[in-house]
Symmetry: C2
Subunit: 412 residues, 2 copies
Amino acid sequence: MLKQMGKAAKAASMEMMNISAQKTSAALLAIADALIDNTDRILSENEKDIAAFVEKGGKKTMVDRLKLTKERIFDMAEGIRKVEGLSSPVGEVSSMTLRPNGLKIGKKRVPLGVIGIIYEARPNVTVDAAALCIKTQNACILRGGSEALLSNSIICDIISQALASVGYPENAVQLIKNTDRSVAVEMMKLNDYIDVLIPRGGAGLIKTVVNTATVPVIETGTGNCHIYIEKSADFNMALDIAVNAKTSRPSVCNAAETLLVDEDIAEEFLPAIYDALAPYCVEIRGCHKTKKILEDITLATEEDFYTEYNDLIFAVKVVSGTNEAISHINEHGTGHSEAIVTNDYSKSNQFLDEVDAAAVYVNASTRFTDGFEFGFGAEIGISTQKLHARGPMGLNELTTTKYIIYGNGQIR
Amino acid sequence: MLKQMGKAAKAASMEMMNISAQKTSAALLAIADALIDNTDRILSENEKDIAAFVEKGGKKTMVDRLKLTKERIFDMAEGIRKVEGLSSPVGEVSSMTLRPNGLKIGKKRVPLGVIGIIYEARPNVTVDAAALCIKTQNACILRGGSEALLSNSIICDIISQALASVGYPENAVQLIKNTDRSVAVEMMKLNDYIDVLIPRGGAGLIKTVVNTATVPVIETGTGNCHIYIEKSADFNMALDIAVNAKTSRPSVCNAAETLLVDEDIAEEFLPAIYDALAPYCVEIRGCHKTKKILEDITLATEEDFYTEYNDLIFAVKVVSGTNEAISHINEHGTGHSEAIVTNDYSKSNQFLDEVDAAAVYVNASTRFTDGFEFGFGAEIGISTQKLHARGPMGLNELTTTKYIIYGNGQIR
């Protein structure tokens, strides 16, 4: 069955490779309209998903992720209209060189082909992923969590009908409705038909996909992010950035998990950050040196420094200087987002050069690592690996290149 | 043991991330000199490898790949000197945008980190891979075939000594001397220390790595390449290109395996190409329509059209026109290199747009798909997949990017 879907997706992707921008826009706008028009049908299926999930004893935070409302559906449709308005990278020839033998070799941006997306309980990912794939002329095969099956099914049916209504390849977006694990495994090994897999969800899901898939995977990532306060830092700036990175949205991957403080300023800075974090009820877990200064905090274990809390907990470590801060980050970090607060020119450069992460900041909160904040107008995830895409992934990262070569009879 | 090597490689790669171009050049030139100085030692170990391989009944073609000579070692050293002279992409900031909030976001080209290379019996790959990795400031872990173990070992020892002699991190290049399959499998799953795996060798090796590895793989590929003669083609150009693509070096991946001919010109073109190929003793395996015109050829099976012969065999198929040629290629090709010979403007554009391959040619031989012919000055392989790198891979493809962000206190 999956092979049939794969074949259909490949065929759709071949049609889409050369489709006009007008047709792509028409398809996206038709989907946005159809979602609004079918709001009641979507909400009714979503209610069934939620009822079944609650009955099974599903967690309240998960229910929130699963739940759709009229407003959320409106936002989903607005999101599609925004994607429609972005300029597509497909077709751009980024370079064209003339070789000594007269060959003209151009590098052209083209769709990836068929993208597989594996995600958890959030039905808005269905719409989001479909819109980004259509905009970049990629077909997609979606596999969402079983808790959201009815919601995802109705959304995908509406998408297919909308595509058909404007003469767009209907198999551009397909949902795997069999949520058995074995089918997901089969999908991860469907190398003949799927060009790339993008898992979107928690660390467990991503690890499973990386370990199981033979299809190339773009790993979107966990973020154990650090804020390092160098001794020359502006004190108020340092406090603002540390508080913002920890507390503005602690559950997301670009939130900070560990604060590193230079020992020369620790006695002054630690009590100040302690007071600044107090209104947010942040639990501080500090190293021995930290605990000497802030006596009533918890002592951090080595494990703490490897943990992405996604919560109002902040690990704190006093370091001897920039060298120790950088080694600590490269050892414990997940290569997501790292920041130094400093007013020292050479320390700022050293940090930018030597920290091995997707996004390295001087004097700003790590919370800016995001496709919208970076100006991409869209985001399919944040890559913490080094192949193909690193950092926030926008439309460009959903494309590849091919060489187009113009000759006049050259042989070798 | 492998974990220790991984740790050492990671540590070396951290040192290399910020190493000066002078030191990189000194390291490369020291290796080139050391290879020449130690020619006799290398040849003596290589002779032992060959003797053992011949005793085991190794194939003659394999012996040729395994064998080193004074000239080949000289060429290896010259190759390193050429790599030293290339300009490195590392450090380039390809874009820097100013966001409305004042953040300056730059995209900087940086080394991948640690590259694992798995290859077969050719000891020159050891030198080649090491040089390209050092030039791009990547550490590498090499795993060559067991037949070449003594040759690879002495070469790697010489490389390490040369690196040490100029104060370069010695663990920049490490060879896995235990050639057990289980160790190779362990290497393919060493995600904590290896950033990318590049297999170099035959289809079997590449398939094994793709199916086994959890470390991201850059697939270098097999080439089932096509030459399509459209009806408006210049006849002599078409003959030259078809003969060149098939016969100039049939064993390589950019050689053509199938010839597609428009039916309108088949009666005239097929006898001409038959005569043109005759001096090269090329066996033609044709479809039914081809066999009607060239009666004494072999009838091709469907399997023939999927086969990368790497030999003086040419599959030939008569097609109804450009649409059929493109679907045949997208169905049977391996996404490597594909060529149309035509004088029709819209057909040439259709072929460039719709053929899904790393390199698509108009009026030139597929034999040009090569890092040197493309002007990269180096080549680590030819990628037939779509992630990260597609087509010939030079220095640029051995790097990744990171975002560097300059703020002045921005919070979100």
